[in-house]
């Protein structure tokens, strides 16, 4: 092999090496910023129509079971399934991210007490039924259709985010003296190591009649 061929090869090798260093540095710089997926905003839905449920009476508290949930401001319209507890005593979550569920251990929505409905913020691939729950603001309306066809109408009073390791169990699941509904989903930072969000978003609502 000639010296010149050797030189050319050496130059090419050197330049290729330097190019690799440069490419690596550029790649390293470009991948430091977090990647924020963008999803289209949900359409605002019309309010459902139907007979508005009467206020619960303290001496006759039972109301019909909840069957569907509509939140016009964030485009939520879903059937409600029943949620219990996991073997570990945690709240069961819907098996499908596109549907919400009522926790059967809580009061029925529209009855005296703190009813609880939970839904996913997302699936592995995209938005879930409560993707935009944290965008609700005080005054927004939440409608629960019950098995007897009546609508219990709730007004958002506050939206809170809690770290899961300091979840205020007694505030969320404890007794309330009027008909309230709490909507729960995930929020905050997602920890890919444990495939879990580190916080819960809780929307507090009170029935209006």
């Amino acid at each position: 092999m000639s010296v010149l061929a050797g030189r050319s090869a050496a130059v090419i090798v050197t330049v290729a090496g330097l190019a690799a260093v440069a490419a690596g540095a550029v790649g390293l710089t470009l991948t430091r910023a977090p990647d924020r997926p963008v999803w289209p905003a949900a359409a605002i839905l019309p309010a459902p129509t139907g007979p508005i449920a009467a206020a619960p009476r303290p001496s006759a508290p039972q109301v019909a079971l909840p069957v569907a949930l509509t939140i016009p401001a964030i485009g939520v319209q879903t059937q409600l399934i029943r949620l219990g507890l996991t073997a570990a005593g945690a709240l069961q979550v819907p098996p499908t991210p596109s549907i919400a569920g009522w926790y059967t251990g809580s009061p029925r929505p529209g009855a005296v007490g703190s009813a609880v409905i939970a839904g996913h913020i997302d699936s592995y691939a995209g938005p879930g039924v409560f993707f935009e729950l944290s965008r609700l603001r005080p005054g927004d309306r939440v409608y629960v259709r019950r098995a007897d066809g009546t609508l219990a109408v709730f007004r958002v009073t506050s939206v809170r985010t809690y770290p899961k390791d300091r979840f205020p169990t007694r505030t969320v699941y404890g007794p309330a003296p009027d008909a309230e509904l709490r909507l729960i989903t995930c929020g905050g930072t997602f920890d890919p190591a444990v495939r879990s969000y580190l916080s819960n978003v809780v929307v507090y609502t009170t029935e209006i009649t």
Partner: protein
């Protein structure tokens, strides 16, 4: 100084304990919105129906008016902003401008609930403010009694086998008792015939049992004051799988490996260049051969060392046939 230090040593843990205790106290949801609850009750058997007015302190127009409230009626809770209120009772149909029969003031704290009840006989009617409990021991039921029966002045009340209150006099209110959830028979024992009724008490609820004069003996009204989950789920809810979460920066390791590999390759190439002979022969002397004693070798130390030298010489030498090695 030593004494001050002693005081500080004592007070800092005490202060810390107070802070921890206040942080651990459960806050009802409404504490976050600065609201509480009031409900109004007429529990005086021989008092005719009344109109009940709720005024926010300093505001002459009523915030809430309940018309024609008769004996035994307990209103639902009204959610109100925390602050001072007054409750006035007028005979049913009396003008709002007339002097009330009775008035009481109530300070509503955020997250707290109150019952303002007309109690006692008409001749000694009073408005009593009851502070209502809004939390239960996990999985249990809280029950209290209001004795509003004039027919039986003194009653004892038991639930299942558990005595809730003994010798409760007319117009009085018992404290809360913790009972197990379930359906049980509430028994009212008095001087005359005993009465009993079946009540259902769900876990995680607070009840008030009101003993009332019925058309035929005494009755019990089972009021659901507040309800929560029968069993509070442990911890938060696993309601997300991360499909829409912002991706954090990916691992820098692959890029670091690329950079390191590039450096190794570049250094290898550089070393090879450095050890190759430097073709210094100009193009117009095609047959020139370097004198034997000048022929560079792999171990020669006479090669140009700077890249500048490489750059200026290498392009001119690409047509030359270098020395065979």
């Amino acid at each position: 100084m030593r004494f001050l230090r002693y005081i500080a040593a004592l007070s800092i843990p005490a202060l810390a304990a107070v802070l921890v205790a206040s942080a651990a106290a459960p806050a009802p949801a409404s504490a976050t919105t600065g609201t509480g609850w009031i409900r109004l009750a007429h529990l005086s058997p021989n008092t005719p129906a009344v109109d009940v007015y709720l005024y926010s302190f300093g505001d002459p127009s009523a915030q809430l008016v309940l018309h024609h409230v008769g004996y035994g009626v307990v209103s639902p809770y009204e959610q109100v902003a925390a602050g001072d209120y007054s409750v006035s009772m007028r005979l049913a149909g009396a003008a709002a401008t007339t002097a009330p029969v009775l008035s009481a003031s109530v300070a509503v704290a955020a997250g707290n609930a109150y019952t303002v009840a007309g109690l006692g006989p008409e001749s000694a009617l009073r408005l009593q403010v009851l502070h209502d409990q809004l939390s239960t021991p996990p999985g249990q039921v809280l029950v209290r009694l209001i004795q509003a029966s004039l027919r039986e002045h003194v009653v004892s009340v038991s639930l299942g086998g558990q005595v809730l209150a003994s010798s409760l006099t007319f117009g009085s209110v018992s404290g809360y008792r913790t009972v197990s959830p379930g359906t049980a028979s509430v028994r009212i024992a008095d001087d005359g015939a005993d009465a009993s009724a079946s009540v259902t008490l769900a876990a995680g609820t607070v009840h008030t049992l009101v003993v009332l004069d019925g058309s035929n003996g005494v009755t019990v009204d089972n009021l659901l004051d507040a309800a929560g989950s029968a069993v509070a789920p442990a911890g938060g809810a696993g309601t997300g799988l991360g499909g829409t979460a912002p991706r954090g920066p990916s691992s820098p390791l692959p890029w670091a490996l690329v950079i390191m590999a590039g450096m190794v390759i570049a250094i290898t190439g550089g070393l090879r260049l450095r050890h190759l002979p430097h073709p210094s022969v100009p193009r117009h002397q095609p047959h020139h051969r370097a004198p034997r004693h000048h022929r560079p070798s792999r171990t020669s130390a006479t090669l140009p060392r700077t890249s500048h030298a490489l750059a200026s010489h290498a392009p001119t030498s690409h047509r030359l046939v270098g020395p065979k090695r």
